[in-house]
């Protein structure tokens, strides 16, 4: 019993001796071997055992639905009392989806350009706010943090209604301002029916809802940068712009990568903010994005297969983007080593 313990935790006073002297344990070599095997087994299984709870939850919550959606996308599915019936149709739904003009002309461009605009603006605004917070004293930092956290905490639906209200044609604040400035004729302008103004409003909404997370995360990163770096930079005559790009950005690049990945994922799959807007629930096909498109196919037309195919496409798209980001992140890590 004793030697095996020594081997496992290596903490015995004579542990080093036992191993380096190559002196076989006098009593019985078989116990030694068994101990070694056991140690290996423990080494192999322990991490998995520790990971198991998380993995089981993830598999239940993520993997299983993912597999189901994948399966559904290859079927024509019909809801029946007590359990639906699926007929396999191969890749028909994907063929229909990828040959549809709506996807290439409306759905994908809307999704991609909207996401790019939102991610870019969210990161830029979030970083600026983080820089501001970093310079503020404790009291003002607290006040500003609470203010931006309120924007973050607002449920997406509520926030969207506020923006709809502000941009309400004719009666909304912005419509009246634009009307007073002579930019539009409020009686004949409805911003929600056209693609560009519709998405401009949606962008404002999503950026407003998304920047607090970026600001808080980047601020956390900023607080870890040693002051000495900036002092050194200042001694070398670097101005604020240069200090930001040469010191701040490289030092907390991983933070930027993470918030970019997360924002990208969120902004690609925006659904609520579009669906709740006037015309966003399917009555204006010009403003479909992948999320709404998939929802309409699956839950309005009850064409679960086609809806799932669109959802799988969105997942693959996000997976591809995430892989690129994560590889950049790891390469970054290796360079640092």
């Amino acid at each position: 019993m004793k030697p095996s313990k020594t081997l496992i935790d290596g903490s015995g006073p004579d542990a080093g001796d036992t191993l380096t002297a190559g002196r076989p344990a006098p009593a019985n070599p078989t116990t030694d071997k068994a101990a070694l095997r056991r140690r290996r087994r423990v080494e192999l299984t322990r991490p998995w055992l520790l990971l198991a709870p998380a993995l089981i939850v993830l598999a239940g919550l993520l993997l299983w639905p993912l597999i189901q959606v994948g399966k559904l996308s290859l079927q024509d599915y019909e809801v029946k009392f007590g359990g639906g019936v699926g007929t396999f149709t191969g890749f028909d739904h994907y063929a229909d989806l990828l040959t549809s003009g709506l996807l290439w002309k409306t759905v994908l461009p809307n999704t991609v350009f909207f996401a790019v605009a939102c991610v870019g603006l969210t990161i830029a605004l979030g970083t600026l706010v983080a820089l501001l917070l970093n310079r503020l004293g404790t009291t003002w930092r607290l006040i500003c943090s609470i203010a931006i956290l309120a924007a973050w905490a607002m449920p997406a639906v509520t926030g969207t209604y506020v923006w709809i209200w502000l941009f309400q044609p004719q009666d909304g604040l912005f419509s009246q301002l634009a009307g007073a400035a002579g930019l539009i004729d409020p009686a004949t302008t409805n911003w929600f029916t056209e693609r560009l103004p519709f998405y401009a409003i949606a962008t404002v909404n999503v950026v407003h809802h998304g920047f607090p997370f970026v600001a808080i995360t980047v601020l956390a990163g900023l607080l870890t940068i040693p002051k000495e770096l900036y002092e050194a930079g200042m001694l070398d005559g670097a101005n604020a712009w240069q200090r930001f790009w040469k010191i701040t950005v490289p030092t907390i690049k991983p933070v930027f990568l993470v918030v970019t990945i997360l924002s990208t994922i969120w902004d690609f799959k925006v659904f609520t903010q579009i669906f709740v807007m006037p015309g966003g629930n399917g009555s204006n096909p010009d403003v479909y994005n992948l999320g709404v498109f998939s929802y309409i196919e699956a839950f309005a037309k009850n064409d679960y297969g086609a809806g799932s195919a669109a959802a799988v496409l969105l997942t693959l798209l996000l997976l591809a983007i995430t892989i690129v980001y994560i590889r950049t992140l790891f390469r970054q890590g290796e360079e640092d080593l």
């Binding site: 809801v79 029946k80 009392f81 007590g82 359990g83 639906g84 309400q168 044609p169 004719q170 009666d171 409020p186 009686a187 004949t188 302008t189 409805n190 929600f192 029916t193 056209e194 006037p278 015309g279 629930n281 399917g282 009555s283 204006n284 096909p285 010009d286 309409i296 839950f299 309005a300 037309k301 009850n302 064409d303």
Partner: protein, 431 residues
């Protein structure tokens, strides 16, 4: 005369329930003896401003009658269909025993096999002949009736009586007069919407499609085909959208309005005349007491006089295929007939699903009720009775068509052709 009919009806119902208890197998007996059983009931939220006291009372009456308890779960209209679909997938354990089902949902749910065909039971109870025809028809597929009509509503025209009197406008009796009235209203009351052409309100538009003699879709040999781009339908769409695009009687902000926004605008006093449901006048006055006594209603005028048909919508109380279905039917009967049916109609401002009850409502000669009752009895219309049409509605085909015309993205014919194509694609998929 009427009283005698009702008395006979009550006697008949009582007699039948009595015999139902006594007759036949032991099964039947246990069906109405619900001691220790609980029925799960799904009711849509919002129809009755406060449905809780109503159901408390109904549950007490039911407990007294059968010994069974009632558990009411309130559902949202916006998410209801999805919730039902999920429960239906789950089978008998997850569906309610009794549920309020919107008439346009009946075909979809019935097709899955979840709803109980109650044709025989309705006949047995002698209730069949008294049901409002259009409403009964909406929940009957291939001769099988999937529940009892509970309440119904219909849209007509609601207008500001005070403004009509002030500017000497007569309630319109045909489309030409409707346009003329709206023109005057726009001229004299420029800060109000003369006649909202709401892009998101499907049932505003359909009245004019039907009014011109058009149809949404037609059935031939069990197959549905869109008719929304037929010359007559297009004429109706052209007239309706023209009120906004040509006559400018409805400003651009209305292009994306749904009925909810029209209601909000009424409450703010921003509307002169609009299509509105029979439940709206009371709601408007409640929200804006200034308008008390200033509202009037007329059936939607037909193109050259008469009436345009208007969507007759409503709810069924249906029983699901659970082990309690016989007991569930008793509860459905309790709610859809007699005292509770009348009370529900009164509390909700909707119409009951039985002719005898509806006639009682019409007989009250309330000027804000009678025009709707007339519309419902004489010019109600239903949308195509197929699962596919539910999907067409959910994918917003008609509002999409109207909005594309209002925003100038398509001509009336182009938009109608596209809507027809979209409809046919969904019909074809479901065949």
């Amino acid at each position: 005369m009427k009283r005698r009919v009702i008395a006979a009806g009550i006697a008949l119902t009582l007699g039948l329930t009595a015999t139902a208890c006594g007759e036949g197998s032991g099964d039947e007996e246990s069906a109405t003896d619900g001691k220790g059983k609980t029925l799960t009931v799904w009711i849509m939220e919002g129809t009755n401003p406060d449905a809780r006291p109503f159901f408390k009372e109904a549950a007490a009456a039911f407990k007294k009658k059968t010994g069974a308890d009632i558990k009411v779960e309130y559902q949202q209209w916006a998410t209801g269909q999805k919730k039902f679909t999920t429960a239906i997938e789950g089978g008998a354990d997850q569906v309610p025993d009794v549920a309020e089902v919107g008439t346009t949902w009946v075909p979809q749910f019935a097709e899955t096999g979840a709803l109980v065909d109650v044709t025989g039971k309705v006949k047995e109870s002698g209730l069949g002949d008294d049901l409002v025809e259009g409403l009964k028809d909406a929940g009957t597929l291939d001769g099988k009736q999937y529940g009892m009509p509970w309440y119904a509503g219909v849209r007509s025209i609601v207008y500001r009586k005070d403004l009509f009197e002030k500017h000497d406008i007569k309630p319109p009796t045909n489309w030409k007069e409707l346009t003329a009235a709206a023109r005057t209203l726009k001229e004299k009351e420029p800060d109000k919407v003369a006649f909202p052409v709401a892009g998101g309100a499907e049932m505003f538009a359909t009245a004019f499609i039907w009014g011109a003699g058009g149809e949404l879709a037609t059935e031939k040999g069990g197959k549905w085909k869109s008719a929304i781009n037929s010359p007559k339908s297009v004429e109706g769409i052209e007239y309706y959208t023209g009120l906004a695009t040509k006559e400018k009687l409805s400003p651009a902000k209305v292009n994306t309005w749904t009925e909810k926004e029209v209601g909000d605008a009424w409450n703010k006093g921003q509307i002169s005349m609009a299509i509105g449901g029979n439940w709206t006048p009371k709601a408007i006055v409640e929200a804006n007491p200034d308008l008390k006594g200033k509202l009037g209603a007329i059936p939607i005028p037909g193109k050259d006089g008469g009436m345009s048909r208007s969507f007759l919508g409503g709810s069924y109380l249906s029983t699901f295929n659970t082990e309690n279905k016989d007991l569930a039917w008793e509860f459905v009967k309790l709610l859809t007939t007699g005292e509770f049916a009348a009370k529900w109609a009164e509390q909700t401002n909707y119409f009951p699903g039985q002719n005898s009850e509806l006639e009682k409502v019409a007989a009250k000669k309330d000027p804000l009720v009678e025009p709707f009752a007339k519309q419902m009895l004489e010019a109600g219309a239903t949308v195509p009775k197929t699962k596919a049409y539910g999907e067409i509605q959910a994918s917003q085909v008609v509002p999409g068509m109207i909005q594309s015309i209002l925003s100038g993205k398509a001509s009336v014919q182009e938009a109608a052709d596209k809507a027809a194509k979209d409809m046919d694609a969904i019909f074809a998929k479901d065949e």
